[in-house]
């Protein structure tokens, strides 16, 4: 897992199965679909 993980992933490991990255659901945004500023999203 250490060698294969991607940024920000949370890996679930259960008996009898292989590890897999948890798929987080998004949260509702504002009406109209406008996104917050890039500075808040860590894009700058």
């Amino acid at each position: 897992m250490i060698t294969e993980a991607e940024p920000g992933e949370a890996w679930i490991i259960q008996p009898g199965g292989q590890a897999s990255a948890y798929q987080f659901r998004g949260v509702p945004g504002v009406g109209g679909g406008q996104m917050p500023p890039d500075v808040v999203l860590g894009r700058v």
Binding site: P7, G8, I13, Q14, S20
Partner: protein, 217 residues
């Protein structure tokens, strides 16, 4: 199974004297990495480190001065740091939702949350100097789902997952991968007396090696 070659890479594992941490140390060593084992249990750390051809460091991860000093020691010893597994953790031990043992709570947050923050902040400059790297943090299934028997443990493990998700995005541009491990119930000392219940109902438990060696689906 991964066939990655970590020869020439240097790793640090906290809580490496037993359980998941010791299994991770063994896996990293098998892949060729030089490994530093940090644990409160000095003798245990020495035993695991010796078997892995690494070094042992005794220290309390809740002390904000310890992880910066350990990272500096590892860089001095090996010349670089590439992989950090912040694995040290404890159970909540909560006996009721309103039965707060403040000392126990502070220790829980100290090990499960503060240590992760101290470790990440100490490691990032070293990983940048190495040109990038990986930080893996042991959370739990309780970091994604509620564990009603231990809300405080659930609190700390959710905190870890949130921190990983945010820090992972923030550090990706530096070539630093931050990720969390969320195992189900693992056969370690953390299970405590509950282990008897799991055994009685023949509930499948993970082994520490299952965690360390888990291939990606």
């Amino acid at each position: 199974m991964s066939t990655v070659d970590l020869t020439g890479r240097v790793a640090l594992v906290t809580g490496g004297a037993g359980g998941i941490g010791a299994a991770v140390v063994r896996r990293l060593a098998r892949l060729g990495a030089s490994v530093a084992v940090l644990d409160l249990d000095a003798a245990g750390a020495q035993r695991i480190a010796s078997a892995a051809g690494g070094i042992a460091i005794a220290g309390d991860v809740t002390d904000p001065a310890v992880l910066p000093a350990v990272v500096a020691q590892v860089e001095k010893e090996f010349g670089r740091l590439d992989i950090v597994h912040l694995n040290a953790g404890i159970g909540g031990g909560q006996t009721g939702i309103d039965a707060l043992d403040v000392a126990r709570y502070r220790k829980l947050v100290g090990v499960n949350v503060d240590h992760v923050v101290y470790g990440l902040c100490a490691a990032v400059p070293a990983l940048r100097r190495a040109g990038g790297g990986k930080i893996v943090i042991t959370s739990s299934l309780a970091g994604l789902a509620a564990m009603p028997s231990d809300p405080l443990y659930t609190l700390t493990k959710h905190a870890v997952v949130g921190y990983v998700r945010a820090a992972g995005k923030a550090l990706a541009a530096d070539g630093i991968v931050v990720a969390a491990l969320c195992p189900g119930f693992v056969d370690t000392l953390l299970l405590g007396a509950a282990k008897e219940e799991f055994v009685a109902m023949e509930f499948p438990l993970l082994t520490p090696s299952d965690i360390a060696d888990a291939p990606r689906r």
